[in-house]
């Protein structure tokens, strides 16, 4: 088992500062982590206001629990774990109503050997090149600009909202917030392989949603 070391050399000092009531240290940490915590909370609860409460509860948990924090994971990982616990239990209570994503999720979870793309995109055994493309991806037009558009953002956010919860957590932490795979493994208690499978499925589905968006848009010739 790989040891989890605090990522920052000054982390011990930061923990001491929090324990001894250093307001500036607490405020800095709150300002640094809260945007990411809010984003992750929103992956579980139906509104921004509830996400805000989840984040607030998380910080209360930090204030109350910092004396018991033993430094076996990094401080950031520990805070993420508290957030995830809060967000998951809150998410269960405030069950979102998303019939569309429910059906989609069921369809996805039922398919084993899921490689992240519709099997019809590939040639079957009878084809010229079994396992080769039957319908290859088409080049996206001006992708760099369009991927940053509000429409593309909506497409990505909707695709993420429709993911099974674990996939949603992994892609939010890894790709949106830029946490390392080690941090995600520690916060979610999953193996490296499992983390990568979840990430793969999640990214593949977001790509597929973007593909649909890019192909449906009329591009001026």
């Amino acid at each position: 088992m790989e040891a989890t070391r605090p990522e920052r050399p000054d982390e011990r000092e930061l923990i001491e500062a929090l324990r001894s009531g250093d307001r500036a240290a607490f405020a800095t940490l709150v300002d640094e982590l809260s945007p990411g915590l809010l984003r992750l909370a929103m992956a579980h609860v139906p509104s921004r206001a509830i996400a805000e409460e989840v984040v607030q509860d998380t910080w209360l948990g930090v204030i109350n629990g910092i004396d018991r924090f033993e430094g076996r994971s990094s401080l950031r990982t520990w805070i993420y774990r508290i957030l995830l616990n809060n967000a998951r239990s809150r998410g269960v209570r405030e069950k979102r109503v998303l019939p569309f994503s429910y059906f989609r999720r069921r369809a996805e979870e039922g398919s084993d050997g899921d490689i992240g793309l519709d099997p019809d995109r590939f040639q079957g055994r009878g084809g010229d090149a079994p396992g080769g493309w039957a319908r290859p991806p088409v080049e996206w037009a001006s992708p760099e600009e369009r991927i940053a558009s509000n429409e593309a953002r909506d497409v990505m956010l909707r695709a993420i909202a429709a993911l099974p919860p674990r996939q949603r957590e992994v892609i939010t932490m890894r790709d949106i917030q830029g946490l390392s795979s080690l941090e995600v493994r520690n916060a979610l208690d999953v193996s490296e392989t499992n983390q990568r499978v979840l990430l793969h499925r999640a990214r593949s589905k977001v790509r597929a949603a973007l593909e649909e968006y890019f192909e449906s848009e009329e591009v001026p010739a």
Binding site: L18, R19, S20, G21, D22, R23, F26, A27, V30, D31, S34, P35, G36, L38, R39, E52, V55, Q56, W59, L60, I63, N64, I115, G116, L117, F122, A129, P130, G131, G132, W133, P136, P137, V138, E139, W140, P143, E144, I147, A148, A152, R153, M156, L157, I171, D175, I176, Q177, G178, S181, E192, R196, L199, H200, R203, S204, V206, R207, L210, E211
Partner: protein, 88 residues
Amino acid sequence: MTQSDVIELSCRDLVAVVTDYLEGQIAAVERHAIEDHLGDCPGCDEYVRQMRLTIAGLRGLASDDAMFPQTRDELMRVFSELRPAPSA
């Protein structure tokens, strides 16, 4: 290089391992097989490009959405109450 050193990789295989490849979690021999395949296959090359674009797009969703100021003020108040600083 003998015949058995060559890994036959289909487009479907490549799509299945694209995340291992992008994460650098793949043995050198497999990486070479993937890179050879990408050199010959415009479809897979485009697929990998789209995965990279997707990751870049996701990064762009990072929010700098801060907490509501009143929540933050309340938190700071609670912090001072529960963790009084040594009297200065």
